[in-house]
Symmetry: C3
Subunit: 221 residues, 3 copies
C-alpha cells in the first residue's frame, strides 16, 4: 500500500500560497512598532505562504517545491504587498479570509501527508509532517516577527484542525481508501474543525498541573 | 578509519527522548504568561525531546530518525503531558532530573558524533554535529518560547559538557579506539562535566572586551 | 546553459566567514543584558559567519560546506572571540568593517546563486537562494539573540543589495555571459548598492496601507 501522491494543479497551489502570504502581511500590519519595510512585508508573506512546504521538504530531504518553479516567489511577494496595501478593506473581509485560510491549511495538510506517505514515512510521523506542512508557515511567520508562536497558545484549534485532517487521511489510506478520496476527506475535516472552532469558540484547555498528588481528581484552576 | 555507528537500543533512545520532552514541559510550565494550551506543551516536548536529532539529520541530509518510526512522537507527547501534570512532584525531584538529563545529552552527543564520523564528516565539524545533537532540543525549545537561548548565557556548562564529550570521542576514534568504547567514554565525560559543573557552580566567563589596547593585561570588569 | 560553479579559493571563503563572525560578535556585544558567555559569543559568530551557507545547503539538500572541512569552525570561533575582545578598537573602524561586509555579502551571494543555478534551480528561486546565502547569517544571528530580524526593518538596503547582485548574475547567466564574469559583476553590484545606500542613507519605505479605497492616490502617512 504505497499511496500515490495527491497532486493539486499548480494554479490551486499558487492560490493557496497567495492566500497564506496575504494573511501573513495582514497579520504583520498590526505590528507597526516592528518598523517593517516593504521587503520585510514580502519576507513575512513568503515565509507564511510557503514556509510549511519548505519545512516539509527539508524534513523529507527534497528540493523544496517552491524552488522548482519561477511562480511561487512572485505570487507570494505580490500577495503580501497587496495584503499590506489593502489592509483596511481586507480586515473587513476577515470572515472570508478565515474561510479561505481554513481551505488552505486543509490543502497543505493533504499534500504534505500524502507526500510523506508516498516517501515511505510511517503513519504517525506522516500525520506530523502533514500537520507541519499546514501550520509551518504560521510558525515561521511568528519566529521571524519574534512573537509567541500562535498555534501553541490557547486559540481556535488551528493546528488541531490540521492534525485531525492529516490523521483522517492516514487512517483512510491504511484502510485502503483511494488516496484522492482520502485527501478530499482530509481537506473537508480540516476545514470543518477549523471553521466550527472559530464559530463556536472551541479551544483546548490551557496548560495545567495536578495540584495535590493524593487526590488525583482535584486540579488547579 | 571509518568508525561504525554507535547505535543504542530503541528503548534507550526513546527513554532519552522522553526525559528531554518531560524536561521541556517542566521548563515551559514556568511561563504561564505564554498561555500555552495542551498542544503547545506537546510541541515544546516534541521539540525538546528530538529537536537535537532533527537538526543533526537535517544537517547530515538524512530522513530524521524520529520520522522513521511510529514511536517517537507518542512518547514525546505523553512525556510532555506527564511533565505538565506532575509538575509539582517533579520540581521536587529536580536533582534526579538533572542527573538523567546529563545522561541524555551524553547519549545524544555520542549518537550524533558517531553518525557524523560514519558519514565521513571531518573531526572538527563532527564535534559540532555531536554537540548540536545534544543541545539542539534546548535551542529549539527556547526559540519556540521566544526566550533567550539558555546555552548561550552564563550557566552551568551544558553545551560545554556536550562539546567535551564529543571532542573526546573524536579524539579517541582518531587514535583508533573502538567506537563503542569511545562512545561510552563520551557519555561519561559529558555526564561528569555537566554534573560537576552543577555541583560546583562552574561557568564560563561572561563576554568581555579589552578596555585599553596599549595595556593588554587590563580588562573590563 | 548549465553554468559552472563560481568557486572561490578556500582562504577567501574563510576570510568572508571570519569577517561575518567578527561582525556578529561585535553586534552581540551591544546586548550585555543577554548575559552571553564566551560560548554564546562563539555561537553567534558561527551562526553569523556561515549561517547563510548553512541555509543555502540545507535548502539545496547538500551536506553544508562548513561541515566538509576542519577550517570553518575554528576560524569563525576565533574571529568571534577576537571581535569580542577588540570591540573598542573595532567599533572605531566601523567604516572599514561595513566595506568588508559589503564585499562579504557580495561573495556569499555570488557563490549561492551560481550553486543554485548549477543544481538546476530556475532563475527566480536561484535569486532567492543567492540572496538568502548572503543575508542568512544575519537572520540566524537575530533569531538566536531573539531580536527583531534586522533585514526586515527600515534600514540601509542590506538584503536589497544582495537581491540586486543575485538578480544581475542570473540575468547575465541567462544572456549567456560567462559565469565567472557574471559572478564578479554580482559582487560589484551588491557591494555598490550596499555602500551607496549606507553613504546616502537610502532605504525602502516602511510598510503602509491605502487609506481610502475610492481615492487610490491618498495614502497613509
Amino acid at each position: 500500500m504505497t499511496p500515490t501522491l495527491f497532486v493539486i494543479p499548480l494554479w490551486a497551489d499558487l492560490l493557496a500560497v497567495g492566500i497564506g502570504a496575504l494573511q501573513g502581511a495582514l497579520f504583520a500590519a498590526q505590528f507597526r512598532d516592528r518598523r517593517l519595510d516593504l521587503l520585510g512585508v514580502a519576507i513575512i508573506g513568503i515565509a507564511t505562504g510557503f514556509g510549511g512546504g519548505l519545512l516539509r521538504d527539508i524534513l523529507l530531504g527534497e528540493l523544496p517545491a517552491a524552488l522548482q518553479s519561477n511562480w511561487y516567489l512572485p505570487v507570494a511577494t505580490l500577495a503580501a504587498l497587496l495584503g499590506m496595501l489593502l489592509q483596511r478593506v481586507l480586515t473587513r473581509l476577515s470572515a472570508l479570509i478565515t474561510v479561505l485560510d481554513a481551505l488552505t491549511i486543509g490543502l497543505f495538510g493533504a499534500i504534505g501527508t500524502t507526500k510523506a506517505l508516498a516517501m515511505g514515512v510511517p503513519p504517525v510521523p506522516a500525520v506530523f509532517v502533514g500537520a507541519l506542512s499546514a501550520v509551518g508557515g504560521s510558525i515561521l511567520r511568528d519566529l521571524l516577527l519574534t512573537l509567541p508562536i500562535a498555534i501553541m497558545q490557547v486559540g481556535s484549534l488551528y493546528a488541531i484542525a490540521a492534525l485531525a485532517g492529516a490523521g483522517t487521511l492516514v487512517g483512510l489510506a491504511a484502510l485502503g481508501v483511494n488516496v484522492l478520496v482520502a485527501a478530499v476527506v482530509c481537506v473537508v475535516v480540516t476545514f470543518g474543525v477549523r471553521v466550527l472552532a472559530v464559530l463556536f469558540k472551541w479551544s483546548l484547555p490551557e496548560q495545567r498541573h495536578i495540584q495535590r498528588i493524593p487526590t488525583l481528581r482535584r486540579r488547579a484552576r
